[in-house]
Every structure is written in C-alpha cells, then in structure tokens.
C-alpha cells in the first residue's frame, strides 16, 4: 500500500454539495457512456464513466455516501444529501467506475465508446461517431 499512497494524485472530484470528495491515484480508464436502462433511470440520462482500481481511490465523507444494490452483480453509490451519482461498482472485481462528471477540470480524459446501445432511450441520438457496442465491453476494455 505504501507505494500507492505515495503515487501522485491523478484526479480529484466531488459531489454537487461537496459532502463526498474523492482522490484517485494511478491511471484512469477512458470514458465510456452507458445507455442501459438502469443507468438511464438512476442518472436521469446516459452517464459517462471512467474507472479505477479500488485501492487507488480515497473517499472523504464516506458517511454521506449511500450504496444501492441495483443488481446481483453491482451497486451504485450516491451522495445522500445532494443525490449526485458518483460510483458504479461491479462487486468483487477490485475496480470501481467513477462518474466523469464529478471530476474537477481539467480531467485529461476522453470519451471513447458507447455501450448497451441496444437499450438506448428514444429521446436522443448518438451522433459523435465513436464506437458503439450493443451490450457490455469485453474484459480487456474494462
């Protein structure tokens, strides 16, 4: 753990009210937009997620973070005060997806792909020319 704690902070972020703050050390994955029905309802629109190794993520104000088990495989973390969506965690994989929207600019991140487009909502079109996958990513992309 010592080497992780000494690694420079790659990004910081926080919810809308500031009750939950995060620091991420080490690499962040490129941003992926998820069009699945669960994400659409929980975020209110298709969300943009980066991803990091859990041990590289430090959470301040964790008592204000509420987890909702949204399926057998995953849970979603949001601020119980302002409702900001912060995390999607596939349980037991040692990684966590982080809402790109909570990160402080400049993020240095780019969106690279859309997933679960087979479940896309009808109120928008995807027009950015990026890769579109009908379902999930392969393990090598995660």
């Amino acid at each position: 753990m010592a080497d992780i704690e000494q690694a420079p902070v790659r990004a910081t972020g926080h919810c809308l009210c500031g009750a939950v703050r995060i620091e991420i050390r080490g690499p962040l994955r490129d941003v992926v937009v998820c069009h699945c029905g669960q994400c659409r309802r929980q975020h209110g629109a298709p969300p943009s997620y980066t991803s990091a190794s859990w041990p590289n993520v430090t959470i301040h104000g964790e008592k204000n973070l509420k987890w909702f088990q949204s399926s057998e495989q995953a849970r979603r973390g949001f601020c119980r005060i302002c409702g900001s969506s912060l995390f999607w965690e596939p349980i037991g994989q040692g990684r966590v997806s982080i809402s790109a929207g909570c990160l402080v600019k400049p993020t240095g991140l780019r969106t690279v792909r859309h997933i679960f487009v087979a479940e896309k909502g009808d109120f928008y079109d995807i027009t950015d020319g990026l890769e579109k996958l009908p379902q999930s990513m392969t393990a090598s992309m995660a």
Binding site: Q38, R41, H43, G44, P46, T50, C82, T107, G121
Partner: protein
C-alpha cells in the same frame, strides 16, 4: 390538450409519477451542476402546473442546489427525478426516469460554455 399520458419513476420503484397531456421537447443541460448531480447531461422536459401527480413523494429527498432551485432524487436508489423552481408550480422532469417509449426528442442544448472536457459538445 391531447389525451397523452407520460409515466415514469426511479430505479427502485419507490417514486412514480404521471403527467397528463403533450410534453415539450426536452433540453439537454451541459452546466457543471447538472454534470455533477447526474454524472451525465441534465436532460429534462417540463411538467406544467396541475398536470402531474407523484406517488411515493415521501421517498424524495430535495436538495437546494441554488437559491430558490431544488433537485429531487429518490433517497433509496438515488435516481435523479426532478428540478424545480420553488413556488412555480411546475416541475422539470428527467427524461431518463420516464418510461419508454417517450416519443420525445432533445431539441435544444444549453449551457454549452460550461460543458465537461471529456466529450465534444454539439455546436448548438
């Protein structure tokens, strides 16, 4: 007024709503507040006064995000549902919470000057 009715609700089902009549084309908001709250764009249509009903309203937590403005989400599952100018009587409703098909399409992008840096915002 048409006899259309839109329905929707949060991910866990603790909050449900219905809106009577035709709805305005949604707007997509790129502002920093929406980006943080939603982890996405804020995509909303408008439920006019006296045309909407909410079931399970006790499960909504309201957060005052600016003076006179509050955002409503389900306290159980965190789903973002509403944006309200307090006292206006009308309610902005997230398109993502609406049951499919909605029959609506985003017609306007706003606050593009405040967009996130990890995507290329549309030019309008």
């Amino acid at each position: 007024m048409s006899d259309r009715r839109a329905t929707g609700g949060c991910l866990c089902g603790a909050v449900r709503y219905q809106i009577e009549g035709a709805l305005a084309s949604p707007s997509a908001c790129h502002c920093g507040q929406c980006r943080r709250a939603h982890g996405a764009l804020g995509v909303y249509t408008l439920a006019p006064a006296e045309r909407y009903k909410i079931k399970g309203g006790r499960n909504i937590t309201w957060y005052e995000s600016s003076p006179g403005i509050r955002r409503g989400f389900c306290r159980n599952c965190g789903s973002k549902l509403f944006w309200e100018r307090v006292g206006s009587g009308q309610l902005d409703v997230t398109m993502g919470s609406m049951d499919q098909p909605t029959g609506l399409k985003i017609s306007k992008h706003i606050h593009l000057e405040d967009a996130g840096d990890y995507y290329d915002p549309p030019s309008r």
